[in-house]
Symmetry: C2
Subunit: 106 residues, 2 copies
DNA sequence: CTTTCATATCATTAAGTAATGATATGAATA
DNA sequence: TATTCATATCATTACTTAATGATATGAAAG
């Protein structure tokens, strides 16, 4: 095992590194939601939301359960909320820099 | 401003979402380092490290200062360390899932 | 003032990723 | 059991990104 291999950690953060996925996570901050609710709130297409939910699920960030025709998604670990809040503190200090960062388009 | 636009947050996490960049950040956890030290420690090419340092710098995660021929990089905000540690707690619970996630290759 | 050392920049290439539209699945209801 | 509703899957396309190798910059030493 290479000591420089942070693939797992990198994948975890990649789960958080997309605007659509973050908006999905944000809709789950207070409580679980059906896919339909998430689609409405994020204003993204159903298939796009579904793709991203799969990603978040694979990365262990969210759980889901079926109830009749609906599937409810929720944050898997309460520490995710804590993490997002702490991140916000760091981000607020550096947001001006980030906005001028040309390396990433999205 | 679109309420679903988390571009800034996404870019911030993108800074953390690469194995090479994480290994660079890890070398800065205890103290500042020259680019040369980072190259040695991460076993990456000089230009690759330099590219990633620029990225981390643009994203506001690191600072640098010149001293003679060397340039020293350091973590810009102590909360970054805290953030990385908290992340590690979340990641440790979900690493098995993440490793089986097929959506991302790197 | 030329060479060397440390680092940055840049173009290129190979690879990875997001969004879309079409289709499939599976549960509930008629 | 046919239809509808909610969600997932899949292939495609356009776009984004990481790594590389070559070159440039800028400080210090000879």
């Amino acid at each position: 095992m290479n000591k420089n291999d942070f693939t797992v950690e990198a994948k975890f953060f990649r789960g958080l590194s997309d605007s659509t996925r973050l908006s999905v996570l944000l809709t789950l901050m207070d409580r679980e939601r059906t896919v339909g609710e998430i689609v409405t709130k994020t204003k993204q297409s159903q298939s796009n939301v579904s793709n991203h939910l799969k990603c978040l699920s694979d990365c262990g960030l969210v759980n889901n359960r079926r109830e009749g025709k609906n599937i409810y998604y929720s944050l898997r670990d309460p520490k995710t909320k804590k993490l997002l809040r702490l991140s916000q503190q760091v981000i607020s200090k550096v947001s001006t820099d980030i906005m001028t960062c040309l390396r990433y388009k999205r």
